[in-house]
Symmetry: C2
């Protein structure tokens, strides 16, 4: 079994299977291995690596479990709900359960403060945001076509958007000098550069709120982006999977609100949504494409056959998300808890004069460690990252893996652990920073070491589905009570 | 919204979105509409259309519901199981829950009579067999490459295997003269024809048991196929999703048994499996790729990110499928019930001298209505089909939609309804056949009528995921007690 050599593989298998377009084979995963090999445990392994590379929302599960216990009828696996088992297990319509589509549409409106409503008939299911992203590319672009994307951006976009579709991603360069805001100048530059290279630009992809920045786009920027894509007749794909993680003003503005008030061809506008972040259900694989383009809805629905949501899960969520009282309570409380955690964590960093990009959303901070670099180079960023993983024992994600053009930024996730673990992580960072500034800490790990090599095109996949062992639900790590 | 013209679509959207590779836009769906517009109901609409185009296993749900009630710990939505909710909902590893992989591997061995065992580490998840089929094509072939496939074959293969991958399907012609068996001569002919046309053949796809034939492949045929692909160093993809629907001898022989005893490069062997037919859970979207090729397992696992099984569903099935007593009882009883239904249905057809291809598997018969055709043409097959849908009011599937090369064969599903409905369907067929043979029935519907046109390249999608309204679990059709 499996005795083929690499050469044989190239003949036997497809180009997709044998190229490295997926990006997982990069050295970055040595960082994950460091965590997998030595995971932190508050009692059994207090010196283990703490996972801060995982954008996961674990802060409000008590509310959900409470609802589950009070609503046995929502499940087809309870005495109260088992009568529905047959019909649900048999249900195989790619439109989805009507009550699921209705509930998701309603929830999406709720998350956007009720300022906009969504048509259940435009809700297209897919296998997580991963599947939703790919589905849209298959609908909108031919192999070789390009989408523009502001940097820094979610590393697994390289897999989701490019790997099997053959679509190119062209960066729009954003910089710290204006807090990484997208400027029309940078957008025009990227667009013109593509035109000069004879690359057909089919659209622009934005994440709002941004992963990894934790910021949201303001009204003015959103309007200028819509005007831009409308003028050039290219698509705008808006990833809004973090839309209910906003924890302080200003309010989130969805693209759906903008196009209510701005003249534009709504056939160009598409939203990617998911319940992985807002509800904390990445395992349930609920991805949504909401398109204002009828042809995309129709074609996307046919494509959704490749990644439908389990009818068991649709049934449960249909009831959960249409419980108005619960949804209201959950959204308020979840936002409050994320905000408290963010505040606590960033204040802890401030004690040692480490700043983060000001943000009001997401499950992470965009941490500024430029002051710890000897030189502002990616070599030094890697060297620092190796120390953080190997010595400080925190698995944070370096900016280069997000295609950031400035070295020294790191994404640090804070919502995938309990209070006690956050304290340990904070103490480790504080100690490390203090010692480094005193010149005590040694950057022992040289960049480009064979064993911990990281290429600039490497990708993290921390937001989903990659690590072989780290996320076992049978992990022995107990969780202390949450905020 | 959606105001683009077809021309605009072609500029704005991808070729995949604007070609008809998906195949749903064929006239065949008028047949589905006939059902949707006028569904049979035993009390409220006794003259409605009976759905016999849906290969669904509804015969043994009482056993499953009984197990569900007795095993509340298997669900994360019961008082007994809710403590696991957080860990399961958060679980996002594309390897799947270890206990899920173990249970599926064990179940696959059980279904094959314990004569072969499966390695849990080769179990790759995907979104149903639909996703599994596509995933394998993405791994094995480049756009333009071809797979050989015996006719008649599952209509939605055109979607699953070709649409987004660009892979071609080249038919191996099978005929009624030898009960549609695959001959090496036909296989060689298809292979050589491709070679002459300079098409690169990457493999052979077989369905065993066959959909739509309801037959299984014998040892000799399987060996000759393995020898063929091994000699040419091309892949063999075996769709075994009906492997536990065998209801009478001879026993099912899996490709996994063949390669235990036959010298071949197992890197070329890949199995597609699912729980949609064997367990009757199409809504749960459990697709499995089991490959003996390490590179395909590794690449396929990365691709599975686009169509993972909901962790909620994985958790439930892990416990259900690892319950040895239950699985044994279910497999025995399910097989018995399918066999009883098959016997009852085919004997009913025999009363009016309508035969079916002899078979011992599947949830359908391959019904021979050649004697009812005026001329052995596809025009007459269509004319007959229109009468069956419009006048007899049975939604059966014409052979041409399965790429059958001989007119007059129809696939008729019998396991997606209760006993009483089967009786109504049988009486309708009997009456129709008797009157037709007496010359009483009128073939009112002319072929190629605008409203009910069917092209020969049309596809049914009855085995999953297509019809907008037909499968609502809230359908008002009550089910009478099952066998």
């Amino acid at each position: 079994m499996g005795l083929v050599s690499a050469n044989d593989d190239h003949q036997l298998l497809s180009k997709i299977a044998t190229n490295d377009g997926h990006g997982e084979n990069c050295a970055y995963f040595d960082g994950w291995k460091a965590y997998d090999n030595d995971p932190f445990h508050p009692i059994e392994n207090r010196n283990g690596v703490i996972q801060m590379g995982l954008s996961e929302n674990q802060l409000s599960f008590d509310l959900i479990e409470d609802w589950i216990r009070k609503n046995p009828n929502a499940s087809i696996c309870t005495t109260e709900g088992a009568n529905a088992f047959k019909d649900i297990a048999n249900f195989q319509d790619y439109h989805g359960l009507p009550e699921f589509r209705n509930a998701v549409a309603k929830f999406m409106g709720r998350v956007r403060g009720g300022r906009v409503s969504f048509d259940p008939n435009r809700i297209v299911m897919s296998g997580g945001a991963t599947g939703a992203n790919e589905l849209l590319m298959f609908c909108l672009a031919n192999p070789g076509d390009a989408f523009l994307i502001p940097t820094p951006y979610y590393p697994a976009y390289d897999r989701d958007l490019r790997w099997r579709t053959g679509v190119q991603l062209l960066p729009i360069i954003c910089k710290s000098s204006n807090n990484f805001k997208i400027t029309i100048e940078a957008l025009e530059e990227a667009y013109n550069k593509a035109a000069e290279a004879n690359i057909k630009v089919k659209g622009l992809i934005i994440s709002n709120p941004s992963n990894p920045l934790g910021t949201i786009l303001d009204m003015e920027t959103l309007k200028s982006l819509v005007t831009f894509i409308n003028k050039r007749n290219i698509h705008l794909v808006c990833n809004e999977i973090y839309s209910s993680t906003i924890f302080k003003p200003p309010s989130f503005i969805s693209i759906s609100e903008i196009i209510q008030h701005l003249e534009c061809n709504s056939d160009l506008i598409h939203i990617v949504y998911s319940l992985s972040k807002d509800m904390g259900f990445p395992g349930f694989r609920v991805g949504i494409v909401y398109s204002y383009n009828d042809a995309v809805v129709n074609c996307g629905r046919k494509m959704s056959s490749f990644g439908l949501v389990s009818s068991q899960t649709q049934h449960l969520l249909a009831l959960m998300l249409s419980d108005d009282d619960f949804v209201g309570r959950f959204l308020r409380e979840s936002s409050k808890r994320i905000g408290n955690r963010h505040k606590h964590f960033t204040m802890g960093l401030e004690e040692v004069e480490i700043g983060c990009l000001p943000g009001n959303a997401g499950l992470f901070c965009w941490m500024d460690l430029r002051s710890l670099l000897k030189e502002p180079t990616f070599e030094d960023e890697m060297a620092l990252w190796h120390v953080i993983i190997k010595e400080v024992k925190l698995n944070v994600s370096p900016g280069s893996s997000f295609h950031c053009v400035e070295p020294g930024w790191f994404r640090v996730c804070f919502a995938n652990m309990d209070d006690a673990t956050v304290e340990v992580a904070l103490r480790r960072i504080q100690t490390f920073v203090t010692r480094t500034k005193k010149g005590e800490a040694l950057l022992k790990y040289k960049p480009w070491q064979k064993k911990l090599q990281l290429s600039f095109s490497s990708q993290t996949y921390d937001d989903g589905l990659m690590s072989p062992h780290m996320l076992s639900p049978h992990s022995s790590i107990p969780h202390s009570p949450l905020l």
